[in-house]
Structure formats: structure tokens, C-alpha cells
Symmetry: C2
Amino acid sequence: MVKLISVTGHTSLDYLLTVEKIIGPNQSSPILKCETNFGGGAANVAAGMAKLGGAVQLISPVGDDFVSSEYEKHLSELGVDLSRLYRMENEQLSKAFVITDRFSNQSTYFYWGAAGKLSSLEPPNVDFVHMSTADCFFNAKISESAGFVSFDPGQDLVTYKKEPLQTILKNTNLLFANRHEIKMVCDISGYTFEELKNMIDVIVVTYDKEGSILYSCGNVGFDGENIKIGQRREKTEIKIPPVLVQSVDPTGAGDAYKAGFLVAFTKGYSLPVCGKIGAVTASFVVEKIGCQTNLPDWVAMEKRYKEHFLESELVLK
Amino acid sequence: MVKLISVTGHTSLDYLLTVEKIIGPNQSSPILKCETNFGGGAANVAAGMAKLGGAVQLISPVGDDFVSSEYEKHLSELGVDLSRLYRMENEQLSKAFVITDRFSNQSTYFYWGAAGKLSSLEPPNVDFVHMSTADCFFNAKISESAGFVSFDPGQDLVTYKKEPLQTILKNTNLLFANRHEIKMVCDISGYTFEELKNMIDVIVVTYDKEGSILYSCGNVGFDGENIKIGQRREKTEIKIPPVLVQSVDPTGAGDAYKAGFLVAFTKGYSLPVCGKIGAVTASFVVEKIGCQTNLPDWVAMEKRYKEHFLESELVLK
């Protein structure tokens, strides 16, 4: 049986504008390339999981353009369960306008759209949830009732308040953060990194092209049907090497890593193998522009895994 | 019989982003308000004409999102003839991203999209054409075969070359420009304003809230079926007062003015009345955000005309 993972957070449209020049007030510039891509952290993770064969439902607010932009069709075809979406009339999907110049400088404008209503929504009871950034109050509520909580504080961390963040962290089993975010999590929550490592079963810190480190202090795993969270034992630090490829666009790599990690985790793989499957999944996404344009299925992931790591690790005991 | 007017130029989607702050490279800012509006000079003019009861066909390149954005439905419902569009697969509509801060500063990024192919297209033979900015080579070609040429050099003037601009001006019967554009037309073409006034039957120079001036040296008019272009006679200067209303968004005012002017012209109104009908039509558009959101029909235009000008002027002799 495949474990159902609920994913909450943003479903966004990303407008990627390559311009002659990033301009100031009262100026204009031509756009050399204009692409619209499916994005948003939650939808990226859900799409990545579904493509790998995971069972996933997306719990995310969407507006009228979810249908007209064909985003619904795209996620349906991937097999994401959309029955728990918050469909809001007269609202829009969240949107990111990413303006990039010839020297790879970027200016980003972000519109919350329908996701602005998250804080006032009542979350459903779910068993296994991955919370992909977005609203801290909604996440705090859902984390209190869920059986297993995976949390990615991500780009919205700047909007987080101390109290809901503390609530989330107390309920989190698995925390994903990059080196900047982990510092900000400590700053806002008031917890030290040592305290976080004692509270949270597994902390995954990603270091871009240098790979990731898993800090595990919990006896956590999956036995095929249930998540096992056993007694605390000695702390371990596991280094996961990166899977380096010709990178075209790093956007979406982090979300793909989480998708791969979580699908592997619910299949019952050990933490080091989950990290490696995450790294392999991410390596596909950076090869093409867009967060959901080059997601691997399980077979493609396995093939590349074997090129970088031991084939025997993919055999479940 | 209503004279068919062909309108060439851009059909665009306008993204109006109201932001906290216009940002530089490697910064990000939230978007407070995000609106997508139907725009593009040619489509604005065509929509305005159709709403006033004019007969209009749009000759403009469009991409796949012309249908998915419901722009096609919108123009069809207004009664614009879309049979002469250039429908391009795997292309996008032109797009303008207009970023406005709290102090009304604006940064504009413009994407040509399908309109980038205009220069290589063979224009159809048309009788009465209004060319709304866009590509100078396409416009030069269409101006050479058309029976009557109305020309709005507009925002793309910065891309115009001397030779095609001279060709256009030699064939132009009616030129619309604001005070900045008329200077740039002279600079690029090498013609003085005096020379332009001798070459072109009617030049309409708009001065925003101060109204417009019609410079006429041609015996030009419409007798119900045909445009009459008679012998040159003495030059006249006609001042058209503005129609001032509570303005919310000036975008699209110029296009609405042209739509009103041209529909009135083909109905057989005298030049001063054409100018006033243009000013009245524009006054509606500035009352709402978007270029095509508050277009008046002929009855609404007439009603406001009578509030500002003489009712008797609307009776055709």
C-alpha cells in the first residue's frame, strides 16, 4: 500500500521574463523571452511525488485561472488528487514574476492571490502532511492534528511569527531548510539549532551544489504501513553528496529534492537513501527551465541513481 | 452603409502590478494588486469602434493565448471582425507588464510575442486602414496600397527607421500623435512639422488634459459612401477642448479618442465634431482601470456629448 501524503502551500503561476535590463521607476525595457510555468512550492512537490508514483493530495487555495491556465489539467494528468483544493471564485492563483537580466540578476515580485486567504481557512485532519512554506497560522493548525509533519519554511519564512512557528516546530518530525533558512528559523523561533535537533526527528539542511546533511536524532522510519517514531537515540549526521549535472535553471530543485525524499521515505527506504533519491530527483529538474517540466518517473530516477550510487541500496529489505 | 475600417497593430495582454516598491536587481517585493487586462493599441481601437457601432476588422498577429485568455470571446462579443487575424501556433500574444508603486511611478516591460513576426508578413489590400503603432515595415507596405490611411506612431516609434517612416507619412491622410511623438516623428523622418502639415490632410496632436489640436490642410471628409480627398486649401487649426472627468487610469485614453474620432469620421461628421466625439469617448475610458473596460456605446457617448457640447452638432446634414 502506498502512503497518502497531503501537501499544503502555494500553487502558483510563474512568469519568467528575460529582459534587456532591470529598470527603475519611469523607464521601460523590452522583454527578450517570456515564459509562463507551473509553480508554487506545494504544487511542485505534489507534482514531483505523483510523477515518481507517490500517492499525493494537494491542499492549496486556487483561483479561477487554475482551470483556464490548464494547471488543473496538468496536475490531474500527473495523478495528483485535487479533491481537497480550496477553489475560490473571483480569486487568482498566486503568481511570481521573476525578471532576469543578461547577467542573471533577478528581481522577483510575488502575489499571494487566493493564498492570501489561507490564514482564515480551517485545515482538514490529515495523517501525513508536508507543509511547503506559505501561511504560518494555517500551518500551525494543521501541524497540531496531523500524525506526521514534514515542514519546509521556505521563502515565506520572512512573514512568520514566533508563536505559530514554535507550534509548528514542536509538531514537526521532518524539517527541510537551506543554510540561510535554518538560521532564520532559529532567529524567529528563539530556539537554538541544538534545541531544534533535540525536538525534531530529522533535519535536512541543503547546501546547493555541496549536497545536504541529515541530522537525525529520532528512531524514525516507515514499516510499509505506518510511520514508526521510536525512542530517541544517539544523534547522527549523514552527509548526502550532490548529483551534479549540467544545470540550466536551479528553480524547483529544492522542491524536487523534497518530493523524492518523501516518496522514498513512505516507501520505507532508510534516511541516507531517501536523501540520495532526493538529490537524484532534483538533478533532473535543474536540466530544464521550469519547476515541473523535467520531473523523472521512478524508472528514470532509478537509472540515474545507479549511475551515482550503489544499485543494492534501492532493494527494500 | 457603415464604412469598414481595418485596424492593424498590437493585440496584447496587460499585466498591471501594483507593488510595495519598484525593486532593483536581486531584490523581491510583494504585489498588492494584480490585474490582467485586454490591451494592445490596435485591439483597443477596434474594441472602441465596435462598441460605438462602427464596422471594424482587426488585422493583428495573435498567439495561442488569444483563445485561452478569452480575449477572442471578448472581441467577438463586441462585434469585431476577427477573420483577418494572423493566428500563430506556438506563439504568444504581445504582453505589457506595467509595475506601479504607491507613488504612481511606473516601470514597463514589453514583450512583442507574435507581433515580432509582423515585419515578415504580407499585408492584405484594404480600403480604409488605421495603423496603430507596431512594425514600421509592415505599416509601410499596407500604407502603399490602402485607399485611406490613418496612422498612430505611438510607443513603438523608437524602433522606426527613416525610410519606412517616410513611406508611411507620404501615404498618411490622418496622423494622430501626442506632443512628444510629433517631435520624434520629425526627428526620425527628417521632415519638419511644416512639411508634415503640407503632406498630410489632417494632423491631430493630443495634449493630455489640455485637449487636442487638429491641423487640417486637406479638403477631407466622408460623404456617406466614400472618403473625399479634394484640392488642398488654406490651412486651419481647430482646438478641441478636453472632456474632464474623475480620472482613475489614463491608460487607453488615446486609443479611445482615435476610435471615437474615426467612427465619427466615417459617419460623415465634420472634423471638429470628430475631435469632440473622440474626447467624449476617451473620457469614459479613464474612469475605470483598463483600456477596454468602460467603453461607451453610441447612445452613452451622445448623452455625454450633449452635456459638454452643442446637441445640434450631432445631427448629420
